[in-house]
Symmetry: C2
Subunit: 313 residues, 2 copies
């Protein structure tokens, strides 16, 4: 479930566009007004506002926001006003500029969207970049990391609940054979995580745990952590429990040692109107504080206000 709240009575896109222009004009920008409008509109309404603003004032709202706002607040707001599929395409493309660090963005998009949502992201990617997500992922990677990421972004998984328990058992055994002694049979591992349905994979992961009293992620952790193996663990965690996975990403991003604003923005902006409630629940379960409390402490100013608004505070 979403955390951001959409206003009950929504002004027309023309009224919103006029209010935004007013917020931009005069001495300094009225950031509070910008947040009050845009954080409380759903994706369809934001799209209408972007179109109407351009028609009315003959300038791009995105570009105006870029010139009016700054820092983390600007980056978060500029991601927020994009169409959700387009936003993910943009984030995937940016992640490929530094794939060894940002591979997890690709995995999150490939593994936490439904199969039809992933197709929509890939369609948006075609329109924006005149090529496929697949060919760009393949071009920026090599070896096992390429095989894994390419399989994840390519596959159109079965989305049903049906589970074959015999298959889960036999594939848990294949996975175990593959990871023990650190001599990993990558091809089989990638085939399994890259083609099976999420319901089937969850059953396989459970069988592995029942049989070996340890999760696959722990077994993978024991081996030498190459970038590929870290990516494989991320994949398993994204599929096994996305809420728990994102809660941990947020915990790492908000450590006292230093906040990782890009990651914080990515998770909150991408999930606020989708499944953020579950992520907040998973966060609180493992921490003694709520995500709102942590964000209030670790961030400041308009950026904090905007994230809070997206979290429904």
């Amino acid at each position: 479930m979403a955390t951001n709240t959409v206003s009950h009575v929504v002004p027309s896109p023309a009224e919103d566009a006029a209010a935004l222009l007013k917020a931009f004009q005069g001495w300094g920008t009225d950031e509070q007004a910008v947040i009050a409008i845009l954080a409380r509109r759903d994706a369809t309404q934001r799209k209408q506002i972007v179109l109407t603003y351009e028609q009315m004032y003959n300038e791009s709202l995105l570009q105006r926001l870029q010139s009016e706002l700054s820092g983390d607040f600007e980056r978060a707001m500029c991601h927020w006003i994009l169409d959700p599929d387009e936003r993910q395409a943009v984030m995937a493309n940016a992640a490929m500029k530094c794939i060894q660090e940002d591979y997890q963005v690709i995995i999150e998009i490939a593994c936490t969207n439904s199969p039809s949502e992933l197709i929509a992201v890939k369609k948006a990617y075609h329109v924006l970049y005149k090529c496929s997500l697949e060919e760009d992922v393949a071009a920026c990677t090599t070896g096992n990391l390429r095989s894994l990421l390419l399989a994840l972004v390519s596959t159109y998984r079965y989305d049903g609940k049906d589970v074959n328990m015999g298959l889960a058992k036999s594939e848990a055994k294949i996975v175990h054979e593959a990871v023990r002694n650190g001599t990993i049979d990558h091809e089989e591992l990638i085939r399994i995580v890259g083609t099976r349905s999420k319901a089937q994979l969850k059953a396989t992961f459970s069988c592995f745990k029942d049989e070996h009293s340890s999760s696959i992620t722990k077994a993978l952790h024991a081996t030498d952590p190459t970038c590929y193996l870290r990516a494989l663990r991320t994949t398993v965690r994204c599929i096994a429990d996305p809420n728990k996975y994102f809660a941990k990403v947020l915990r790492n991003a908000t450590r006292e040692a230093g906040t990782d604003e890009d990651t914080l923005t990515r998770v909150v902006v991408m999930h606020a109107e989708k499944d953020m409630k579950g992520i907040c629940g998973a966060f609180q379960k493992r921490s003694s504080v709520t995500l709102e409390q942590v964000i209030a402490k670790e961030t400041s100013g308009d950026y904090r206000n905007f994230l809070m608004a997206l979290l429904g505070s």
Copy 2:
């Protein structure tokens, strides 16, 4: 363009269903009536007839056709009345029972549909088999054949006309390096044919030919023809020129030494209402006779009449 002709004045689905029942009743089946009705309806009309027949007579039209008709005619008609996406899903599934012989069916479906048509086939596959085409392809293959087929069925290619000539040249060089001396770098070859857009691949194949005065298929032919290499050649031919490819499939299927009715049926039924005119043109270009003349000579009875109707004769 299609070859089959749809009647200008089409009776209602109920009238067609009643006419079909009449054709089934009495002494023997009136096959000519069945052909006259079903061969001259488009996919949407046939779907309506199937639904209406079941509602009116409380029996499946497919099952009734199976009991009324026989041999190659029955198989062709039973494929014809399926929804086109469902039909391809059924054909892909059947091909996997004997993948070493029938891999080309998977390649044809993966490479001659548009990216969005391929997604529709994969959706139909989910509904029919409660799993993905990807996982079934992966389960019935191994090694390089698996990598190739899995890449082809998974990928959601960019469908635009944009071509990067620099990339075409550099990838033609990679392909050449990969195939020369028979020591093929499969990973790079599969990445290229499995991810690039068809327009881009055609440019790469052209660069290869310009540079080396020989096509990629000929270069691949020179090496030891494993099943994987034959599949790779089929892939290149399907992408480079589908009409020419299918024309050759039809020539092989209608040799005087013995007709391969399953292949003949597959190509005619799958392409009659799509791109059969182009295939017939390519057939005639390389043969001294038309496809209709060959089919008239090599087949007989209701099967011949039905194929002829689908070819618009």
